[in-house]
């Protein structure tokens, strides 16, 4: 009998210790594991290394964990929306590794596909290439980038079931299925949790084998960074 369902975020993250390496899904504030971030702030674990495309904003998302100084190192591609992040970075309080977005995604994918490394042209000839092995294929240079190693991956899905199968919605999919494949332990929080058999197997984005714990989240704020609308004619 599979026992993946846990009651809430506190239970799902209870064994995350100081110094852990954690992947967090989401792009900007879209598709971030809100409940788990709140639980990590409440638990107060420190010296975390967070792998996430962005670092939230000052008072939401990973920004909440930066404010409480729980993050030792961020591995991201873009951190422009967070003033506290920029302050901690420029003052040297926070370590950061900025890597190209596609490289970030593909390094997660490599982990989930059981491949130790990938070659990408992104970053050739830039600071990103310093210290990295390069190789030429068909006249073009590529960088060797290693698969990520992380202790936990925490993702947010739209629907999930008791077996850990996940379905994402619209652009909140982003890094979530990739990180789900890449955690030593993967935690999924979902808006809707179903019994096994209630989701159509053809529609599953992440097969349950990649997911260790799943819970139904609550009170999703789903904050929008830039509400942009047009007027009705």
């Amino acid at each position: 009998m599979l026992k993946k369902i846990v009651s809430n975020a506190d239970e799902a993250i209870k064994d995350i210790q100081d110094g852990a390496v954690i992947m967090l899904g989401g792009f900007g504030l879209c598709g971030i594991p809100e409940n788990s971030i709140t639980a990590l702030v409440k638990k107060g674990v420190k010296s975390l290394t967070c792998i996430s495309n962005n670092a939230g904003v000052d008072d939401f998302g990973i920004g909440l964990m930066l404010k409480t100084r729980q993050v030792k190192k961020m591995i991201s591609s873009y951190v422009g929306e967070n003033a506290e992040f920029e302050r901690q970075l420029l003052s040297g309080e926070l370590e950061v590794e900025l890597i190209p977005q596609g490289t970030l995604a593909t390094r997660c994918m490599a982990t989930g596909y059981g491949m130790p490394a990938i070659y990408t042209p992104a970053g050739v000839g830039t600071e990103v290439a310093i210290g990295k092995e390069t190789r030429e294929f068909d006249g073009k240079m590529y960088l060797l980038e290693h698969a990520f190693k992380s202790d936990f991956a925490i993702v947010k899905a739209w629907k999930g079931d008791a077996h850990g199968n996940l379905i994402f919605r619209a652009t909140s999919r982003n890094f979530n299925p990739l990180m789900a494949m890449a955690g030593k332990i993967t935690i999924a929080e979902v808006e809707e949790l179903y019994e096994a058999g209630e989701l159509n197997p053809d529609e599953i984005h992440t097969p349950g084998i990649y997911v260790n714990r799943i819970f139904k989240g609550s009170d999703y704020e789903k904050r929008i960074e830039q509400v942009t609308t047009r007027l009705k004619a």
């Binding site: 879209c30 050739v124 000839g125 652009t171 999919r173 929008i224 942009t228």
Partner: protein
């Protein structure tokens, strides 16, 4: 001289029917507003959407549906969603026909810098390094000079590089420039701008061959 809308309008004239296009944040995003009549282009957003529709009406805003600039958007007929690895897969494998992005500096050899000002600004490269390393055709949309009045079209980039030798064309408020082995080749002047003025504002090697036409926008 062009304003940012004029720059976007001029770049839109480079679009061809059936193009898959990735538009960066800022002026590039505006290009979508000027797609010429009778032409269909499909916009790719690297956060995982092919077929970006217009901004939503206030009552259809969806927090799960944003573009790479984190703005709320809509889908359009034929749209699809995918994860970030597949998104950069389509970029890396050369499926995206045109990439339009902003820059802090462009060099006469096609190098681009747009992700970092050491000690001052550290926002990160986002998807820019992946895009410039793989896109078939890259157009830069930017102001010709920086806030201090210094040329952004340079002999060599002074800021950390985003990609090497990748920019094919630059459109600024002053004109349109093709990057050829010898440098920035002036193709068109913005309305009311002289070749002499463009020369004065361009630090990199400017190539002027014959009479340079003034661009026609409408």
């Amino acid at each position: 001289m062009l304003d940012k809308f004029g720059i976007a309008k001029r770049i839109a004239k480079e679009l061809q029917d059936g193009y898959y296009v990735n538009l960066g944040i800022g002026i590039p995003t505006l290009v979508a507003n000027y797609v010429p009549e009778g032409i269909e282009v499909i916009l790719q957003s690297e956060n995982g959407l092919l077929g970006i529709g217009p901004f939503p009406y206030a009552d259809e805003v969806d927090a799960d549906l944003i573009n790479a600039g984190k703005q709320t958007v809509t889908t359009t007929n034929g749209s699809s969603f995918f994860d970030s690895a597949m998104s950069f897969g389509m970029i890396r494998s050369g499926r995206v026909d045109l990439t339009v992005l902003g820059a802090m500096e462009v060099a006469e050899n096609g190098d681009i810098a747009n992700w970092k000002i050491p000690g001052k600004m550290v926002k990160g490269m986002g998807g820019a390094m992946d895009l410039v390393a793989s896109a078939k055709n890259i157009i830069v949309a930017m102001q010709h000079v920086n806030k201090a009045g210094e040329s952004k079209l340079l002999k060599r980039c002074s800021l950390p590089i985003t990609g090497l030798g990748c920019v094919k064309k630059v459109v600024t408020e002053l004109g349109v420039f093709d990057i050829i082995p010898e440098g920035f080749k002036l193709i068109e002047r913005a309305p009311g701008v002289s070749v002499e003025y463009i020369k004065e504002k361009t630090e990199g090697n400017l190539i002027v061959v014959g009479e340079i036409p003034e661009m026609i926008l409408d």
